[in-house]
Structure formats: C-alpha cells, structure tokens
C-alpha cells in the first residue's frame, strides 16, 4: 500500500521509498526529511475533495507532500496488526 491510499489519521509504518523514473533524487530527499523504513507515519489531512497537498506526520515532524510524492512511499498498517 502507498501513502496516498491510507485511511486518514491511522498510523502506518514506512516500508520503503520508490523514486519515479526520471527523478531519482526524490527518494533521497524523502529519506533525508525522515521517510525511512520503520518510521511511523500518518496522513493527517488532505486538501479539498481528497486531492491537493497531504499533511503527513512522520516521526515527530509534519510535512506537506503532494499526492505524487505520497505515492512513492510504501507503508504497512500498524493498527490492524
């Protein structure tokens, strides 16, 4: 499951980051700001009509990500395990 498909407000765990073709630097950028395997992550808010930037909490910090960026982060559920 990717971060753009998760339930709003639920806790997940980052399992990996995949860069799209043509923009390999994005993976490193996401890792630098804290999207590393094992980190806790939750999508707190989406823009109007579920589109637009996501407000994502990873670890103790909050970031605004675009949907395209959220899609690169694969996660696994924490609440249902």
């Amino acid at each position: 499951m990717n971060l753009d498909e998760v339930v709003l407000g639920d806790l997940y765990r980052v399992s990996g980051v995949h860069s799209p073709k043509g923009a390999p630097q994005i993976k490193g950028q996401l890792e630098d700001i804290g999207f590393l395997p094992g980190e806790q992550v939750a999508v707190l808010r989406k823009g109007l009509l579920g589109k637009g930037p996501y407000m994502v909490r990873v670890g103790a910090s909050t970031f605004a990500l675009r949907q395209s960026e959220a899609r690169m982060i694969s996660v696994e559920s924490l609440t249902h395990v």
Binding site: G28, E31, M55, G59, A60
Partner: protein, 637 residues
C-alpha cells in the same frame, strides 16, 4: 591562467552552528551574538551568510557562523551545498570551522540525531546542543543528557532558545574550553570529502538504525503529539475556513502596508524636498547642483521612499514565518500554484513582490527546484509593486471620474483593484505557458515542505531580522541604484539645450532624442512624444515617470505638487484611450533597472534578465495595443 588565492582569516576561533531547519538555530544564534551580526552572501552564491561575535568572560572573541539549515549532509539544495562546503573547508573564502555546534530540537530527536551522526563523521570537534528543552519538559519528555552524551560520544549541552539566559550553558562551556587544543576533542575517523550517493544511502540506513537504538535505550522512542498545533491546524488548514482566514489575513496586511506607511513616506518625501530646497539655496546653479538634486537626491529619494512599505510588509511576513503560519499558507495555496506549474513555495516571494520585486526575487532562494525558482523570478515583476502606485494614482485621478458605483464601491478604487488583478492573471498565464514548454524531466516539482509547530514569535528576533532586511535594501540603494540613477541623469541632461531653445531641456538630451525615436514605435499604442521621452528616465524606476512627465511638460520637477499640477494638463491633453493604454503598459513593463540588476545577480548572468526584459516589454506592448484599440473602437479616442 590560473591563480591561487590566499585567504587571510581573523585569528578568532570560528564556531559553526549546524542544525535541521526549524530547530531554533537562528534564535540561539541571536542569543549568542545579540545584535553583533553581519549579513552578507557566501562567495559566488546567493545564500545568506550570517556571522556574529561572542565575547567570552575571559575577553576572548569567538566568531559564530549560522549555517543554512540542512536535513542531511548530502547537498540537495543550494543552502545544503553551502553548509556542506563550509564544514568540509571547501567553501571559497571561508575558513573551515574550528568547532561545530550541532543544534538539536528536543522535540524532534529522531530526525535531528541523524544529522549529528553525519556531522560526527566530518572529523571536526563537535558539541551537541539540546534546544527547546522547555517545550520538551512541558510535554513530559525527560531527556537524560548524560546518557545521550555517552551514546553519542559527544558533549551534550542544553539550551532554551526563547529565554534571554537560555544560552548560558553554552557560554559557560565556551569559557572553560581549551581553544588551543581543540583537536584533542576529535572523534571518529575524520573524512573531509563529500559522500557519494551510494555511501550516503548506506549511511542514512545505518544511522537510522543507530538513532532508533539510542532513542530506545533512552526510553524516548514514543512520539509526542503536538496537540496545540494540531488543534490550530484543524481551523487554520480547514479546506473551507483555512483559505478564508488566509484571504482575510492578506487583506489586513495590505491594508496595513498602505495605511501605516503613509506617514513615514510623507516624512521621507518632505525631508528629501527640504534637502533639495536647501541645496538650491546654497549651491550655485550649475550642472553639479542639477546632478545632486535631480540625479542623486531625486533618484535615491524615489527608492528610499518605499522603505516603510517594505519594512511593514516584511514585519508581517517575518511574524507569520516565526509563528509557523507561512508554510501553511504555502500549503493552502499549493493547489492554485500547482495548476500553473509552480508550487506553494513560490507564494512567499510573490507576496513580497507586492511591496517591491527586489526582496521578492531575493526570497526565491528558498525554492529548491531550479526551474520553479526561475519561473518565479520571471513572473515576480508582474506583481503590482508599490512603485507603480504613484503612476496609477496620477493616471486614475486624471482620467477616471470619481464616481460611486453600486453599494458604495468607488470607481477609482475598482480600477486600481483591476490593475492588481491584471498583474496577477498575467503572471499566472505566463507561468502556465512556461509549464507547457517545460520538458518532462523538470516537471517534477517537489513540495516536501515542513510544517513546523506553532510558536509565539519573539519580538527581539523579529527586530534583528527586520533590521537586516533594511540594511540589505539600503546597501542596494547605495550601490547599483545610485550608479544607474546617475547615468540616467547624464542621459537626460546632456547635451545641453542650445542657446535660446524654447522647449524643456530634456528634449535636447540623449534621452530626449531616444524618446522622440521611440515615439514612432509607441504611436500605434497611443503614446505621444512626451510620454515616450518620460519613459526613458522612467527605466530607472517606474515612479520616476511622474516627475519626468512634469519635466517634459516644463514644470519644475522639484516642486512638491508636480503630480497635482500635471493632472489638469494631461487630462485635457491626452485621450482616455491613451491613458488606459499607459495603465496597461505599466501593469507589465519592466521599467525598473534595479529589478533587472537583482535578477542578474540572482541568476548569475545576463541571459535571464534579457529574456525577462524582452518578454515583459513584448507583453506590455501587446496589452497596450489591445487596450488602445479596444478603447478607440468604443469611441474613447
């Protein structure tokens, strides 16, 4: 030929502050150095370099360098590249720091500790500072600094960036430190090279494991929610209320910029006029007096007059930035900006451009994506800066009747509002067109913007930042703008009119001949030769057009009410179509040499300023042409 440069550095030890963005680094820097700060740029790049001085109780002086915030020591943005280069001792004209103070936010150890581990590998003496300890305590977070120090193998100090005595532990530590034998502090195998991509990936994985182990050992691996920020975000980022609050805030800021600034602007204006009057009395009437009064005083006075507006706007921007709201405004606007191929990050530079495009263009440095930054620079001059207001005010009061429309809306105000909108829509349209021409590989513009916790802004920090803005602006006025206004004065004053000439002197000057040539080009858009001549010195700055028009119409330009005297002259002399066409011209025309100079400096070459000049002039001509001919069609000629 290659030459080697030898740099001489002051002998005081250099301490570099390293930390993640939003870790309270700058507040701590202000605490350590107070007002003893110097702001400049790093050699060759437009990244702000802040250095300050700290005197220890022993009388010893330290130089403190506030490095740009970095998430990692793998350079991704211009800011991070500078940070890495300085730490590796590879930044031009920069001494390698003697000591690194690694600032951690106690509220976000997880991410901050990874930077400490990377810093440790640099082989520089390193001291960890645990900042924001008060907030951590309030959240019930007890951090065992001794245990942390043992885990990291580095000394750990604590600080509270928002208390006036919050940096005392650091000062005490510096007092005791043996500055001559810092190298005995060396930790780990020093490696003064930039990490390769592969090495960086391995490091970030092993570092992460180590950080999680440290946090686990210290019993700190739970996440503390920031309830206050979450509750505020519930309202401020609400999909419906959020944008409404933002719009109301922006409206209030604009109100303040224009109403609060009136008094100081009047003061500056009248003191410049007073000074001119004094000079006229004491100096003989020759070219030197003309240079002083019409060249230097009029030129610089015309720019300095915008300082109050710029400071008020920056006061609000800094206030919003310190409180943590500004990135949220960018978040709210990301959708709109995304639709024309930009990101929310472009919002702040564009907002600043409403006061003046120069600080706006300087603020684009925070945009990490190079393409986005360029597009933002290109469209920033279309935001209605305050220099356009004198021109708009003159034309509107001369040609637009003072009439109340429905529900008390004033026609003149409505026209002014439409001119603002025209600039914004023009900018959006250009960004949208540029998006079509961007190749796929650059289309990926990342947002990835941190939304920090809300903080109460500290007035002391605001005052320091505001003073720095003012200093940068004034230094620019003293430098490039001075040179340009003087050259334009030369162009508009020489050659002198022949004996017994009847017209105004400017007609016989280089600028005058240029303007008369331009009149042929401008005829299709309805400009007469008087306007064409006034546009030439108006290249220095837009508002100069008002005084140049007064000169061309043989009024005394130093008289206080040049604009008032002009109004009846032009309202009887020009057609409404001409006036509307000139208004349309000013929405787009890049009539501001200082902006062009700023763009050249920020982009490091003439290519972008030349592109900007040509496309904006083309756009201005097109807009004026359409306006003029539509107006003629409706019989307003």
């Amino acid at each position: 030929m290659s030459e080697s440069k030898i740099h001489f550095f002051p002998s005081e030890p250099l301490v570099a502050l390293l930390g993640n963005p939003n870790c309270g680094k700058t507040a701590l820097f202000n605490l350590l150095t107070g007002s003893r700060q110097k702001v400049a740029n790093y050699s060759g790049v437009t990244v702000e370099r802040k250095e300050g001085r700290l005197t220890l109780s022993s009388g010893k002086n330290l130089r403190i360098l506030d490095l740009p915030g970095a998430y990692s020591l793998y350079p991704r943005s211009l800011d991070e590249r500078v940070t890495c280069n300085v730490l590796l001792g590879r930044a031009e004209g920069e001494k390698r720091p003697d000591l690194v103070l690694c600032i951690l936010s106690a509220m976000n150890l997880r991410r901050n500790l990874r930077l400490v581990l990377a810093a440790k590998r640099l082989g520089l003496p390193c001291v960890v500072v645990l900042n924001m300890l008060d907030i951590a305590k309030r959240h019930g977070l007890a951090i065992d600094t001794e245990a942390l120090s043992k885990e990291l193998g580095l000394p750990v100090l604590t600080s509270i960036g928002i208390h006036s005595d919050g940096a005392d532990a650091i000062k005490k530590y510096f007092d005791r430190l043996d500055w001559r034998h810092l190298n005995t502090m060396h930790v780990g195998a020093g490696d003064a090279t930039l990490e390769s991509v592969a090495l960086h990936i391995t490091h970030s994985e092993t570092d992460n494991v180590q950080v999680q182990r440290i946090l686990h050992n210290l019993g700190l691996d739970q996440i503390i929610p920031d309830r206050l920020s979450d509750r505020l975000d519930l309202v401020l980022l609400h999909p419906v209320f959020g944008p409404m609050i933002l719009a109301a805030l922006l409206f209030l800021i604009f109100q303040a910029v224009f109403s609060w600034a009136t008094l100081p602007m009047e003061l500056i204006k009248s003191s410049v006029e007073y000074l001119g009057g004094v000079l006229i009395e004491v100096l003989p009437n020759n070219w030197f007096r003309s240079l002083l009064i019409n060249g230097i005083l009029a030129g610089l006075g015309g720019v300095i007059i915008f300082l109050p507006q710029i400071l008020i706007l920056f006061f609000f921007i800094l206030l919003l930035e310190e409180s943590g709201y500004l990135p949220r405004a960018a978040y709210l606007l990301d959708r709109v900006m995304g639709s024309v191929g930009l990101s929310g990050r472009s919002f702040i530079p564009l907002l600043s451009s409403f006061a003046c495009a120069i600080p706006g263009i300087m603020a684009t440095r925070s945009i990490s994506n190079a393409r986005d930054r360029l597009v933002t620079i290109l469209i920033a001059p279309m935001m209605t800066c305050s220099a356009r207001l004198p021109v708009y005010a003159l034309l509107i009061s001369a040609f637009i009747p003072e009439r109340k429309l429905w529900s008390g809306i004033d026609l003149q105000g409505l026209v002014l509002f439409l001119l603002y909108l025209a600039g914004i829509f023009g900018a959006m349209a250009v960004a949208w067109i540029l998006k079509r021409f961007t190749s796929e590989q650059f289309k990926f513009n990342a947002l990835m913007m941190e939304l920090p916790s809300y903080h109460l802004p500290r007035l002391g920090n605001l005052a320091i930042s505001l003073w720095q803005r003012a200093e940068i602006f004034l230094r620019r006025v003293g430098g490039i703008i001075l040179v340009m206004t003087v050259s334009l004065w030369v162009l508009s004053s020489f050659p002198l009119p022949p004996e017994g000439a009847t017209g105004s002197p400017i007609q016989y000057s280089v600028a005058g001949s240029l303007g008369q040539g331009l009149a042929h080009i401008f005829a299709p858009i309805g400009f007469n030769w008087q306007i064409s001549i006034a546009l030439v010195p108006g290249m220095a700055a837009r508002e100069v057009v008002v005084s140049s028009l007064a000169t061309v119409y043989a009024l005394s330009s130093s008289s206080a009410d040049a604009a008032d005297a002009l109004i009846p002259l032009i309202s009887s002399g020009w057609s409404l179509a001409t006036a509307l066409s000139l208004l349309a011209w000013f929405v787009f025309a890049p009539q501001c040499l200082s902006t062009i100079a700023a763009v050249k400096r920020e982009t490091g070459g003439w290519k972008i300023p030349i592109i900007m000049l040509s496309y904006l002039f083309a756009l201005a001509y097109l807009a004026s042409f359409i306006t003029y001919h539509v107006a003629l069609f409706f019989g307003l000629g």
